[in-house]
Symmetry: C2
Subunit: 231 residues, 2 copies
Amino acid sequence: MPDTASQQPTAPEAAAGYEPTERTVPTRSRERAAYDREVVHSILDEAYVCHLGFVRDGAPVVLPTLFGRVGDRLYVHGSTGSRPLREAGRTDPGLPVCLTVTHVDGLVLARSAFHHSINYRSVVVHGIAHTVTDPQERRAALDAIVDHVVPGRSADSRPADEKELAATAVVRLDLREVSAKIRTGGPDDDPRDLALPHWAGVVPLARGYVAPLPADNLDPAIGVPDYITEL
Amino acid sequence: MPDTASQQPTAPEAAAGYEPTERTVPTRSRERAAYDREVVHSILDEAYVCHLGFVRDGAPVVLPTLFGRVGDRLYVHGSTGSRPLREAGRTDPGLPVCLTVTHVDGLVLARSAFHHSINYRSVVVHGIAHTVTDPQERRAALDAIVDHVVPGRSADSRPADEKELAATAVVRLDLREVSAKIRTGGPDDDPRDLALPHWAGVVPLARGYVAPLPADNLDPAIGVPDYITEL
């Protein structure tokens, strides 16, 4: 578990952690919350997709999407025709969003149904998404999104041309109001349940990479690059 | 890819699929959308957590949570003290939510940065969440949530007692306005890029189960049950 002492950073420590707000302090299991920058970044960087929430016609919408991170800025991209990206572009001063990533690290089996749980690491980011218009920032963001999927890949692919760039909207969300939540360890059974005859423990989960499948039309002379075999 | 002919079910086929609505027909990549009941259920059932979106003070909130399915009803649970569950209970006629699950099945590497993608299966459910008060439905929902994590587990654990039940809120979301979205296959490179010297293909991902870790205080005479080794 991360050091919860960082939850209320004083001035000299502020750079190491995000400042908790009413929205980022959970009502339950506060000991699971973390605001440490490195912890937040590592959880974000390990996720292939985020779940992006926004409000449309008064109702919530949650869509999975790729994303990238550059320092304290997150980027998502999409077709200029996609609804949320159009809305982020049109709305002044931007589109209120909530961006969440979650890793399921294990299934927690307790003797009691009540104490069943999962081990997980999640990050929730609240903020306002803005369309990025600066050409240099847009290019850096698109590289970050590709490199988020496979580190090092943007340098080994054809960069977007002007037509592709024109068709792509890039939206930025700054990491300011953000928190992580982490559960680790075994089941928290009640003492009265310990003698029950049910198996208790954790079934850990891990991400598995399967052997890469070359495209049908790939030149057989092109081998699998190291940045893929090292995943 | 699922049969897109089921997207506009006529009366005799209606039972097999969910009816598309304005919210469940994507603005892009419509060929990836699916409304088949079995496809939607299988994607939901394979996910350990969903991302539940709702609106608080005009802003979106997206939180990961366990869930269970009984036929065309989804259930989430939580402490009666948790904010979204309180809101679903207080609000008449319920709390507008969007519940989304996503599986990342592979990393899709194209020659061009623009055509990078992932293979995925997602389900998005729109609807109104209601607090469940019927005791029998509440018990069935809690069993479904435990069995969603490990099928068969609810029968091999101590059921919730009255005190635990009183502390647990159960919320229901009916599967009505729902769609799946699926991408499979290799990269869609432009013909002009096929001769570029970049590796292209798919890196498939798979969920891995690691050997179960018994709780420290587990009686060593209790072996790992079949329903866990069969995961």
